[in-house]
Structure formats: C-alpha cells, structure tokens
Point group: C2
Chain length 195, copies 2
DNA sequence: CAGATGACAGATATTGAAATCTGTCATCTG
DNA sequence: CAGATGACAGATTTCAATATCTGTCATCTG
C-alpha cells in the first residue's frame, strides 16, 4: 500500500488517469479516485476545488504530451521549412493515429474530456498554431514561402488539415486511402504556400 | 382531415419530417408518423420495410436539396473555373450556415440522422466531390489549374475545407472570425491549384 | 496547526417494473 | 384482391424510487 506517501496533486492526477482508463469518462468519480489512493474524497478536494478542475488538469496533461513531441521539429532551424512543415504535420497525424488506434477506448475518453474543456483545448490549439507560425515565418524569411500574415496562414494550414488531426475524424484514420488523402491535401496547401 | 387522400411514400416522408421537427430524432416514432397521417402504423410499414429505411429516405431527401442548389454553379461553363470553385464553396458554406443558424434544433436532428446513415452520406459526398471534379477538370482544360488527377484534387479541396461544411463544426460557424478563416483557407488551396 | 476525515444536503445516476415501440401477420374492407 | 388494420411477441424506453456522488465544513489527529 502506498497510503503512507504524501498526497500530492501529481499522485491524484495519476490516479485519476487510471480511474478514467478503467471506468471511462461517465463513471469515473472523485470517490473512485480517492478510493484508488486510499484516502477520503475530502482530501482530493483539498488539491482540486471541483471535479471539473481535476478533469481539466488531466486533460491539459494529456494535450501537453503531444505539444512536446512536436516542438522538437520546430526548433530544427537549419532544415528546409517545407520539409519541417511536412514533417510536423506527419508527426501530428502519426501521433494522433497511433493514440486512437492503440487504445480506442482511452482515446474516446480523452475526446470526451477535450469536449468538456474547450478552454484548455483552445490554449492547446493556440500553442500548436504558434509552432506552425514559427515554421511559416522561417519559410518566409528564407524566401521559400509567400504569405501576407504568417499567423493567419498557419491557422489556415491547421484548418485545412483538420481531417488528419481533429479527433472527430478518428474513425476514418484507419481507412485504406487515408495516407493518399493526407498527401493530396498536404501537396495542395504546400503548393499554395510556395513563393 | 387529409385521411381520405391516398397514402403514398411521399406523404409519409412529409409526415416524418414534421414528426422529426416536432419531437426530435430520439422521440420520433413510426407510431407518431402513422398518428400524424391518421393511419395505423402497419400501413407505414407497407411503404418502408423498417424504421431505419424510413429515416434513411428522409435523410437522402434532405441531402439532395443541398446538392441541387450547387449543381447550377457547376454547369455555368462559360465562367472562370476559379470563380466557380470559389462560388461553389461559398454557396455550400452559406447554405450550411443558414440551415444551422436558422433552426439549430432541426439541423441537430438531421445531423443525427446523417450519423445513422453513413452510406447515404457517402453517396452524397461522392456527388459533391463529383461536382467539384467537373469544375477542376474544366480548369485544367482551360489551362488555369494544374493537377495530375482532378478527382483526387477535388477530394483534397473538399477535405481541406471541411471546417466550413462538415456539420460537426456548425457551432463555430457563428464565431466572428469565421469568414476570414474561410478566405484564408480558400486562398491557400486556390493558390495551390493555379497553373 | 496543517492536513485528513466523514457526516451531511442537494444534485445526479442507477435500477427495475411498467409503458411504449417495432415489425409481423392473420384478418378485414371497399 | 389490393390495401388497410390492429393484436401480438420481443425489444426498447420511460419513470419513479433508491443509491451514489459532489462539494462543504465542523471535527479530529499526529
């Protein structure tokens, strides 16, 4: 039993992830989390003001894992911006597809959480389009991309590729032609971006 | 009372639309439809083998209304293909946005029906991308578009603009910046299409 | 006295019995 | 006899009683 360890926000978040994995988003309760930790539910409320706040914290944790993976590509400043852009989207698509394919139930659980926490998702999307903006700006500086406003273009790129990263399309990521579709859309928008 | 009129598939479909409008997708029953028509539910089953078949027929009817509006733009063969392409998407977006905005409940109802009838939706999307393919092909023939395969490019265009016609994004169609977003995406893909 | 507890009120979810619905078909009617 | 009917069996939904959960807080403990 780990009941003697100090109760931290981190331990509560880990337990919450486990409870969500086991019970799903509808049946995961604060009482379950407390039970899993061997404490009373009142103690959980000492670290998170509401159940919603707890779920939001778990959601942000999950979203930030993706952001971290991609930031590496952004900072490879000596590579061709078009390559980086293509690889950034490939990596995003691959990461999403792997998560959705490996454990569909957990992915569905986090999709529900994302739906509940529009604000956290908004911040996440802002961070992703921020990364994109950096690559676009690098391309413009290098003279290989044309655009009046890198930030607007970055958002347009993100919207145009939604089919390959928005969780609502997850069921279609397993279909056979999907890679060709990805190539076709990427080819189109990259062509539209070139100087 | 219209009880003396002959019971036709058409009249049943109209009654079904009305029942769906009133009760929503979850509570609309075959018995309700029969009641609305003043007949027994057995009579409805004479025209539609199952409730699912009835709902699919209503769904197709609804989807075909959109397709009809757009086909006019496709056949304006003396206009610049890029203008037609832009106008086709504008019309699609405007039609969807109007439907979603004017009667959100009814739109939600038909979104549920669409989700139930993947096959009918698939045929509808095939028809829409078919219309797009015609415009793209006209552009290639006129020498203003470049592409190896008009059909693939048409699907890429459709996917890239999903944010502005896929019903899952309906809640965002009322947000202030949406027209600018539409312009940004259209500008990007049209630029990628030009010869 | 910082941190944990569990009793509590009001909100939400579960459950199982009763009501309704779906789809069939033998029968009726014009 | 073509077309409508409504009784019926099995599936699904509704509803109200019951249980559980959320969030608070006075109390306890090391």
């Amino acid at each position: 039993m780990a009941t003697t360890e100090t109760l931290t926000a981190e331990r509560i978040l880990e337990a919450t992830e486990e409870v969500l994995r086991r019970h799903g988003p509808a049946k995961a309760t604060v009482v379950d989390v407390a039970r899993a930790l061997g404490v009373s539910h009142g103690s959980v409320y000492r670290h998170f003001r509401t159940k919603a706040a707890l779920r939001e914290a778990v959601t942000m944790r999950w979203l930030d894992r993706t952001t971290g993976t991609l930031s590496g590509i952004v900072t490879e400043e000596d590579r061709d911006p078009e390559d980086r852009l293509r690889e950034w989207f490939s990596a995003l698509f691959a990461a999403k597809r792997r998560k959705a394919g490996d454990d569909p139930e957990l992915f569905a659980t986090y999709s529900v959480l994302a739906g509940e926490n529009g604000e956290a998702v908004g911040r996440h999307l802002a961070e992703l389009t921020g990364q994109l903006t950096e690559i676009v700006r690098a391309g413009v500086d290098a003279g290989v991309f044309t655009t009046t406003d890198p930030a607007t273009t970055a958002r347009a790129l993100f919207h145009a590729t939604g089919r390959f990263h928005d969780p609502v399309y997850a069921p279609e990521w397993e279909q056979p032609g999907i890679d060709a579709e990805f190539e076709a859309v990427m080819g189109l928008v990259l062509r539209g971006l070139r100087a």
